[in-house]
Amino acid sequence: MAVMDTTNRLRTWSQAMRDWPRTVGMPNVTKTELRAAVNATDDWLEANQPSFNAALPLSFRSQASVAQKTFLFSYTAMRRAGLLKAQED
């Protein structure tokens, strides 16, 4: 995988602002600063993708697609931040 192109980064930034949860609130930043954060996040994901992959148990790592690993990563991170409500909650 490579980092997202300009268009995809722009759309990520735009949609993130539309979907930003009121429950967590927006940090005290401007649009430009938020866009830089989107780019930095994408860069970090690209740089750290190998270590995340290596940390996964072999069975999952070898069976799961990139999209499946991304889904798992996203859900785990969201739950950690209090953004994922489970049916059991």
Binding site: R22, M26, K31
Partner: protein, 166 residues
């Protein structure tokens, strides 16, 4: 001499088929209804008013808005008019052009994200406005303007147009 004020209700706004704000309704203890203008796309709302008892001078548009999620940054609001004098102007109403825009940049005052702000646009491009003309008012958040720095939607709760009757 008096000032005439007309309200531009978000619920009465009209839109083109693209690039329009979302209609939102929130509020814990009373309904807060507004038009949510995007942070990256220019979106516009329109109202038709009659300039009853217009005398002379500029129009003033008071734009009351609040931030959906942000607590800092600037919002650029712009307005354009299209004015027609019924029975006099021969201009096709469906192809009438809007006059040059007027704009204001309003800064989020911080402390509380969803506090209400009032941006004031002085409309100097009046498109030959005269008393009792029909006036189409276009209100846009110029989100692509570099001066528009606020993240997230700007929600318009009410706008007014005011002018002198002399």
């Amino acid at each position: 001499m008096a000032t005439v004020t007309q309200q531009l209700d978000p619920g009465a706004a009209q839109f083109l088929s693209t690039a329009f704000p979302a209609f939102v309704r929130t509020g814990a203890n009373f309904p807060v209804v507004g038009l949510a203008f995007d942070a990256t796309l220019d979106e516009a709302a329109f109202w038709l008013i009659r300039a009853v008892n217009y005398g002379s001078g500029n129009l003033t548009i008071h734009t009351d808005w609040y931030a959906d999620v942000a607590s800092t940054g600037d919002v650029v609001w712009e307005s354009k008019l299209a004015v027609i004098t019924p029975d006099t102007d021969t201009q096709d109403v469906e192809t009438k052009a809007l006059a040059t825009l007027n704009t204001v940049t309003d800064t989020h005052l911080g402390t509380v994200g969803q506090r209400l702000h009032r941006a004031i646009i002085t409309v100097t491009n009046l498109d030959a406005l005269a008393a009792n003309d029909d006036v189409w008012v276009k209100l846009t958040r110029n989100a692509v303007n570099v001066a528009d720095t606020m993240a997230g939607d700007a929600i318009l709760t009410l706008a007014t147009v005011s002018y002198s009757d002399v």
